[in-house]
Symmetry: D3
Subunit: 158 residues, 6 copies
């Protein structure tokens, strides 16, 4: 089996006309390592904490709707829900994020969930980079997906 995104070695937007309209959900994760000062400002400064992650949340939800504009072979989709959460690990100086996207459509929303995670983490980077330019974004992956012909997928590596 080869790449479905190619026909005779040339990139195409795969024909999904015959696929069924089903409810599809995808969940993606990722994290960013920050330094002590950034972590303090994010987790102790209540208002500010709300704001950094609050801005990242809005950015991620808005980015979910732009996925097909960014990823060339992605189909446009009518998202029916998008949600993102953050977990702060103060001890290890890591912020984790998990995004969940839903649609009723002919193709899945993996890329939308991954796009949300990526945009949330880049937004955190942007808002904190005056303090720390050495943050590292790490381990962006698809956690699970449901719906569609291939059924439920759960990432076995994690």
């Amino acid at each position: 089996m080869g790449f479905s995104h190619f026909k005779d070695g040339k990139a195409i937007m795969v024909d999904v006309s015959e696929k069924e309209n089903t409810t599809r959900v995808a969940i993606a994760c990722g994290s960013i390592e920050v330094n002590l000062k950034t972590m303090d400002l994010i987790s102790n400064g209540e208002v500010k904490k709300g704001d950094v992650l609050g801005v990242a949340r809005v950015a991620a939800i808005m980015a979910s709707k732009k996925t097909h504009e960014l990823i060339p072979m992605c189909h446009p989709l009518l998202l029916t829900g998008a949600d993102i959460e953050f977990q702060i690990d103060e001890k290890n100086l890591i912020i984790y994020t998990t995004a969940t996207v839903k649609t009723t459509g002919q193709t899945g929303v993996e890329m939308e969930a991954l796009q949300m995670v990526s945009t949330a983490l880049l937004t955190i980077y942007d808002m904190c980079k005056a303090i720390d330019k050495e943050m590292i974004i790490n381990r962006i992956y698809l956690k699970e997906k449901t719906g569609g012909k291939s059924g439920k997928f759960i990432n076995s590596k994690i």
Copy 2:
């Protein structure tokens, strides 16, 4: 020192009106871990190889111009150059990417370079996900930047 992206705890697009117009360059890196089958298809199938990374390259360059639409507090900038390269580590099943962005402006292009890396890696994921959904995107970071008041930055963690 606190976050410059906040004024009284509220998010703003920082006022850079007084900053100088200088030539600014930023270089960012990242990678994706793939499985053996995906690596074979990418690195042995010449045409296809060209295409997966070729499509990722175009996606990344186009995304550099969309950075301020995605990252809420990012200033719009006139990019004067954008370039992205890929290195394939067949043995360890990793594809590395490095993006370089240039501008002449009042603020830096770190986010544009990071956005390029992120979009290139997500595009690789998208085009290979029919074969492997367990790819992991890893270690997205700013490698260096020049220009602007703060001078040259080289990431000391890498």
Copy 3:
């Protein structure tokens, strides 16, 4: 009852997966107060009149399709119709506008109709601001909507 756009106090794009696909219509209104000179140029100069309102009409229709890019928690929708009209009250120096949007989907088009009204009025402002910078945009509201679980809504305040 609280806000549906929040989950545990955090913003989400509300899950509408279980909602029915029905035909939905929304009608929104708004107005702009202009000065005598602007009103004369708009209403007496036939070609020009056509153009100011003609450009505002095109801007409004194009903006209806951008609503989900602007309003963070708005779902993307497939609009099936969009229409905007203007009424000129020369005596009171007011231009009124009414926008009607249709879709067949899982959520309503109130925001699309309001976005059209807002964009039409801002476009009129832009095209006339060389003559008058003191125009005031007034009373943008949802007039009525039909379709969806909540049935017909008619604004009781107007």
Copy 4:
């Protein structure tokens, strides 16, 4: 004097090539009337309050960068700062907003400031419409502008 946005009665993007690059600032205002229940939820529920206005703030800042995509004859500009504030009048059930935009360029940022106000108010409408569909957006206007050949403008009507 006629409309500068027309040449022989036809719409154009006005030629500003000969205008000077100066620092330009514009401030715009607007308001939304809400009902008692919505006001309570916004002003008493601390977290939620933060979120409704926090989301509206991010939406407004992102919309400032999209102004030239929405208003047909608007020139693209490199915004160098954008900021928006809210004042809550609990007694009269009104939320006021004031947006300030800066650029160094050949044309002013009035439309960007007005676009921010409009988008902030529409976002508040969107997030509260499950509770109250009869909110009214009111009195969107340019408060003042500085920079450019015409010098300082202060709205005399308010």
Copy 5:
């Protein structure tokens, strides 16, 4: 019969709410005349050839998803497939292109196919214009369409 895109002489986005959801396909064509040097570089330099047409292909597929943002009265649609091919006529110094777009929706995809052709040819122009500014884009037309009430259309002029 007059224009369906007008109501009382004013532009509207035509109401298609009552139209059926059917599978619709459109195929459009176009060409660009280049000079000998450009043709040599495109058709003999293997890697480069791949790249010029490869970049044009990605640009065209991405543009198909932007059609409703560019053509004012176009409805947004969920494209289910998009594909573009190039034929090189070395002797006559012409590059031909054919784009095929699919959707399941209430209105056709003619404009999306024409948009793809147009964007592919403009991208070729952009990438080769350092060598030859006198390329001519020629004969962009709809070749055929199927689906929808009007049934199959085959262009009789070609």
Copy 6:
């Protein structure tokens, strides 16, 4: 001499950091062949005529600002003026269009002028396609450009 848009056979956004900021103008042309009925409706129905070409004019001006989003290797630019005209040749059933774009920047606006022509003609096609699907878009080319290191270019083929 090879393609400047490639480095080692790979697409890049060419580095223009060292280029001078000069005033640059580009003029592009194109045409569309229509049938008798379409021509009658466009040229005799005054209001409608205004509208078809009026909508095409707005679409073209808005598209000029989207050029760098559509053509992958195009630099973003601050357009300082955009203008488009139509000439109707009733006898030969052809509508001609000419677009003029200006900027003060480090790279030219050929692509913006060509994008305007292309979008204007596609918009005419869209608005008339209910009457005639066999219109042909023809001869899109750069007529002249000024500014920049290479000086004045006048197309010798026309």
